[in-house]
Symmetry: C2
Subunit: 211 residues, 2 copies
């Protein structure tokens, strides 16, 4: 299809598609002349992915480009690729210069409790540490009991995720692992918010009825 059709199909403005092409998020179409190139379904889907990653997941264009690069040219194995992908997701570490031998005491304690290995090179370790520290500093520390509950259920979710990694090809496994981690997060978060509202509604109604 021509680019005008790609604009229609994807709903993304022409100027923005050109911008994504410049930034390397979208692969070029197959050029048939100096002023014509043809695009396919893969371009439509890539644009949907870009919009999902920037819009719903909230990644910047730069981070989105990193994720796309990872699924196009993955690391040697799924584990490393997944680690690199997680490193692109917020909340980001702000590398304080001169404070390199970073340690994440809050995360370390939690991981020890749950029998998971502690490796400060996992990006998610720093992310967990920062999330715990922020909640504490804001006056809402998370105690061990709550963390145990959270982790038990989150682990069950993660086990489902990992158990359903497709095994047709390494490529599709990596895409699923990387994008499933990122794209399903907003779903999980939305489900929790909905459950909160549902439960709060019941409690509110009970309170009202009791008054």
């Amino acid at each position: 299809m021509r680019i005008s059709e790609l604009v229609e199909r994807s709903g993304v403005p022409l100027a923005t598609i050109k911008y994504y092409l410049r930034e390397g998020l979208l692969m070029p179409g197959e050029a048939s002349s100096a002023t014509q190139a043809s695009y396919g379904e893969d371009h439509v889907q890539r644009l949907a992915l870009i919009r999902a990653l920037t819009g719903v997941v909230g990644l910047s264009i730069q981070k989105t480009a990193e994720v796309i690069r990872l699924i196009e040219r993955p690391r040697t194995d799924l584990f490393l690729t997944l680690g690199a992908a997680i490193g692109t997701l917020p909340p980001y570490a702000e590398d304080v210069p001169g404070e390199n031998p970073r340690d994440y005491p809050l995360a370390r304690t939690v991981l020890a409790r749950h029998g998971q290995i502690y490796d400060p090179d996992y990006p998610a370790v720093g992310q967990l540490d920062r999330a715990l520290a922020a909640a504490s500093a804001a006056g809402f520390p998370i105690d061990d009991d709550r963390l145990d509950h959270y982790n038990a259920h989150v682990r069950a979710i993660a086990e489902y995720d990992i158990a359903h990694i497709p095994d047709e090809s390494a490529q599709s496994a990596i895409e699923y692992a990387v994008l499933g981690t990122a794209l399903y997060e907003p779903v999980i978060v939305a489900l929790r918010r909905l459950a909160h509202q549902d439960l709060a509604r019941h409690r509110f109604i009970a309170d009202t009825a009791g008054t």
Copy 2:
């Protein structure tokens, strides 16, 4: 304490504190003269909250101001306040003008399956719908089985949250509900990412050993 001490204690630059004051995120100190005001522990904690909400949760200054307004002057009840708070959290709805009678078919189906009521006025309903639509469009649709698994565990987490709402005062209940929803999300997400890496590591090692 004077503002210079607040700068030290909080780690937030002076110019930034003044900015937060201007934007109404931070309450003014108690003025003792035209050029002096005194600040307390509540100011230190408020700054930590602002940094947590903007930095770790990823809210904009505007949205952070909305959340703070909600816990300072809540709606009539917890349920409404919680709903309003959830409305400030990403991913945001982009109000397409002239398309007001919004409906969220994906979310409606899911909620029906799980026996929760469908009300398009819950912000999280639109958020769920958008998250599901984005995953689908990007080529990673979520089937019912997965949603059932996710929802079962997420609901267990939410039940724990709601069961632990403090009942000393309506004020503290509202603060806990609003900020617990927002501040604990990054923790849950980080735990899932860690579990993914942990499980992928095992699987990778198994693969390597088997080869």
